[in-house]
């Protein structure tokens, strides 16, 4: 079991965003977490990634507790998240964006000996290995043709891909994706699914949070349904989607839309 | 000893309302235009000096003299808004630096016009009142009452009138407010001018109590910002409360601890507040 969430609770003043949520993620699987807006999905992901500290409960990463630790420490431990609204270094090119994301990778490779990087004639970041990694990640996310363009000039779908690319550069063992499909057109969603499958095949465990149920059903090995801060169903996506409580939670919404 | 404490506390409250009126301007400006106008202290100075000139030199009665003073301060505020602040909306660092440039200009102009020799305005209202065993000059009470009244009136106006609600809506969600027909440029300019008018008014009252120097602006804006942070940026009543708390802390602190560090007490207080309660005592985090 790679990640275990135990009785996780988060309260904001009087509002309980997450109530006693427990789940686990095994290595190599793609877990989909879905639920309507306000069900606590983003809160859950932010708690795992260290952006929030829980009011109660524990989060175990490879059996050690990580709840409440700072985001950078959790990223260093191997858990990296992407943002729902793509967060980028807008003034820089795509290449430079990914290059900054190589921070953890370089730290792992070279550690303290990076001090020698300060000498003007040595620069680890230009070393072939890292450059190759950057190119690989950029290609994986289908961004090579725009590699030298400024991050500010990207389309929304490309921005999301860049977010994934940067997260991948950190060599995550577990990648948390916060609503990766939202705002994307059908074609872009297909591309996203391909990329995510490629990621899983190369060894990364994925946890995808979204409210686009059909997208999740196609991509996830296992699904977890959240509603108002609690888990209401868990299992194979097809079964979860037919679960009476899930249908009730979503049918209401479907009716409202119709 | 008790008399000293009471006396200092009262002094602190009165000075605190002066801090409060500046703090109100700081909070309003920040909420609606997204910048901190460090030059507000200079507008206070303008109001003070024009009042002094009209009352002492031109011989106008005090209640007549303050209006042109406020008008001049507000007029300068309008000019500053159109020429400078209009281009730094929501850019905190640029707005800060531009207002600092403005301070240099205004303070230098004041030095040229009036030199560093302190100006003492003649008595507007003489006589004192016994309060809590201490003798308090009537003028100080008048100043306190007027400033507190203006702050409360501002608060009332903003919560009840249309323009007030528009301002509040704008500070919460600028795009939505714009879509609902709020003329945002007019709103922002109005707020800037109003805050400079407030500062000018504060200066006009300041002139009745203390002597005037061109450097007074720099001191008061710092206190105003401290008071605004203390009370919580975004809270109007918080500006008054923050100002009074700051004033009293300084006044009472000077009794027990070296008075040379008077200004430091407020600073330490503010740092502590920022670290533990960043929203201030009454504020909502913006």
């Amino acid at each position: 079991m790679l990640l275990e969430v135990v009785e996780l609770t988060k309260r904001f003043g009087g509002l309980t965003a997450l109530a006693n949520v427990s789940l686990s993620i095994a290595a190599g699987e793609i877990v989909g977490i879905f639920g309507p807006n306000g069900s606590g999905k983003t809160t859950l992901i932010n708690l795992i990634a260290g952006i929030l500290a829980p009011s109660a409960g524990r989060i175990l990463w490879k059996t050690s507790e990580i709840q409440g630790r700072s985001p950078h420490a959790i990223a260093a431990a191997g858990v990296v998240k992407t943002f729902q609204n793509p967060q980028l270094f807008l003034e820089l090119s795509i290449y430079d964006n990914v290059a900054i994301a190589s921070h953890l990778r370089l730290q792992r490779r070279f550690g303290l000996s990076r001090i020698t990087e300060l000498l003007p004639w040595r620069d680890c970041s230009r070393q072939a290995e890292v450059v190759n990694a950057i190119h690989r990640v950029v290609a994986l996310c289908r961004l090579d043709d725009v590699r030298d363009r400024s991050a500010a000039s990207l389309s929304y779908g490309q921005e999301k891909m860049l977010g994934v690319a940067m997260a991948m550069m950190c060599e995550p063992e577990l990648l948390l994706l916060d609503e990766p499909a939202s705002g994307l057109g059908e074609d872009e969603i297909r591309t996203l699914e391909e990329v995510l499958r490629d990621l899983r095949d190369s060894g990364t465990t994925l946890c995808v949070i979204d409210h686009k149920v059909d997208f999740l059903a196609r991509i996830a090995d296992r699904a977890i349904a959240l509603q108002q801060g609690s888990v209401i169903a868990e299992g194979v996506p097809a079964k979860v989607l037919r679960h009476p409580r899930v249908v009730e939670a979503y049918l209401g919404r479907q009716h409202a839309r119709a | 000893m008790l008399q000293l404490l009471v006396g200092q506390t009262l002094n602190g409250v009165i000075v605190g309302t002066l801090y409060g009126i500046i703090a109100l301007g700081v909070t309003l400006t920040f909420g609606i235009t997204g910048i901190v106008n460090f030059a507000l202290g200079e507008f206070m100075m303008i109001g003070a000096y024009v009042t002094w000139y009209l009352f002492d030199v031109a011989g106008l009665p005090y209640p007549v003299a303050i209006w042109p003073a406020i008008a001049v301060a507000a007029g300068c505020g309008f000019a500053a808004d159109q020429l400078l602040f209009r281009f730094t909306r929501n850019n905190l660092i640029n707005g800060l630096l531009v207002s600092i440039g403005l301070i240099s200009i205004i303070e230098a102009a004041a030095l040229l016009l009036w030199t560093t020799t302190p100006k003492d305005m003649g008595y507007v209202l003489s006589g004192a009142v016994a309060l809590g065993g201490v003798s308090v000059p009537k003028m100080k009470l008048v100043v306190f009452a007027l400033l507190a009244a203006v702050i409360f009136l501002t608060y009332a106006a903003l919560s009840r009138t249309w323009i007030g609600r528009a301002a509040y809506a704008f500070s919460q969600n600028p795009e939505a407010a714009m879509l609902m027909g709020v003329r945002t440029e007019v709103l922002q300019s109005t707020v800037v001018v109003y805050s400079t008018a407030l500062a000018g008014f504060g200066g006009a009252l300041y002139a009745t109590l203390y002597s005037l120097e061109p450097s007074m602006g720099g001191l008061y804006i710092l206190k105003g910002v401290e008071a605004a942070i203390l009370g919580g940026i975004g809270s109007l009543i918080g500006s008054l409360a923050g100002g009074i708390i700051l004033g009293v802390t300084e006044a009472v602190g000077s009794i027990y601890l070296p008075s040379a560090f008077r200004d430091a007490y407020g600073l330490i207080f503010v740092v502590a507040i920022l670290l533990y309660q960043p929203a201030g005592l009454f504020g909502t985090e913006r």
Binding site: H72, Q87, L92, I100, P120, D123 | A108, L267, P278
Partner: protein, 310 residues
């Protein structure tokens, strides 16, 4: 290569014999150190620190007092000055960055600490002589091969001494900024939340930037004190911080060398044009305003973007 830019400065004293002009250059070099180092925390890491003048002034006092109380040389006295600067930078930086103070509040808190420092120095009459200031009578000495130990006294010696210090500062800044540390600074400046999730310990790097900037400012302050021979509490005033900020803005905050241009203009102009104190202040205010509104990239930055566009 960029090293060639320094050559004119090296030969300058041979061409210009005027002590007055060379003196302006010396002041410009020393203040350029303060400006370039301020740009580390401001332009490159994106944090507006109002503590820079305090670092400048505190070190000036510590260096001067150490040489006069303990009768040691300038170089030995630099150690406690730099050590103390590092210590207070770590303390203040930890307080500010630990509590995640952003933008405006960081400026206010650093301003508060700067003012506190100034008040302490102003009122600690027994040690600092308060508002009257202190004379600094010592001069640093340098070992020059061939000539032995020379006292840096007089315009000629100070010119090369301060120029060397400036080159040292620029070298340190360039090395740091060209490394992964500089990339982390940029990440913090551009998008701090993102930097955190990518594994960058923003607390550590902000602290590093703040401490390094203040340490270099400490060197500038010490040099300033020993050159002018006089220190006073105004070294730590808000105005001094604002002067340095103006130099960076005027010169350009996106390059290491930009602030040097700003330092030269703002140090040199007031001496070149004979103006009254008030007129100078008005000019300074206008420069600041015009730079922000019209030349946001500063002189060097604007030049650089013209070259790129061409």
């Amino acid at each position: 290569m960029k090293a060639l830019l320094w050559v004119p400065f090296l030969v300058f004293p041979a061409l210009i014999q005027s002590n007055f002009i060379l003196s302006i250059f010396i002041f410009s070099f020393i203040l350029a150190i303060a400006a370039v180092s301020f740009n580390l925390i401001f332009g490159f890491t994106g944090q507006l620190s109002m503590f820079h003048a305090a670092a400048f002034g505190i070190a000036a006092y510590v260096t001067s007092l150490t040489t006069s109380f303990f009768h040691v040389s300038f170089w030995v006295a630099l150690f406690p000055a730099i050590g103390f600067t590092i210590l207070i930078s770590l303390i203040i930086g930890s307080i500010c960055f630990n509590f995640q103070l952003r933008a405006f509040y960081f400026a206010v808190v650093t301003l508060a600490f700067s003012e506190l420092a100034r008040l302490v120095i102003l009122n600690w009459n027994s040690v600092t002589n308060g508002t009257l200031g202190l004379m600094v009578l010592d001069k640093p000495s340098v070992w020059v091969p061939g000539a032995g130990l020379i006292k840096i006294d007089g315009v000629f010696g100070w010119y090369f001494f301060s120029l060397a210090a400036l080159i040292f500062t620029v070298a340190v800044c360039s090395l740091v900024l060209g490394s992964w540390i500089g990339r982390c600074f940029a990440a913090i400046r551009l998008n701090e939340d993102l930097a955190q999730t990518l594994g960058i310990d923003t607390f550590r790097y902000k602290l590093l930037s703040f401490t390094l900037a203040n340490t270099l400012a400490a060197i500038a302050g010490s040099l300033y004190a020993f050159y002018t021979g006089y220190i006073e509490p105004n070294y730590l005033s808000i105005n001094q911080s604002l002067d340095i900020i103006s130099m960076v803005l005027l010169g350009g905050r996106s390059s290491v060398l930009g602030p040097i241009a700003g330092a030269f203009v703002l140090t040199g102009l007031p001496h070149m044009i004979d103006l009254s104190g008030e007129a100078r202040a008005i000019l300074y205010g206008l420069v600041l305003i015009l730079t922000i509104l019209i030349l946001p990239q500063g002189l060097i930055g604007t030049l650089a973007s013209w070259r790129r566009a061409a």
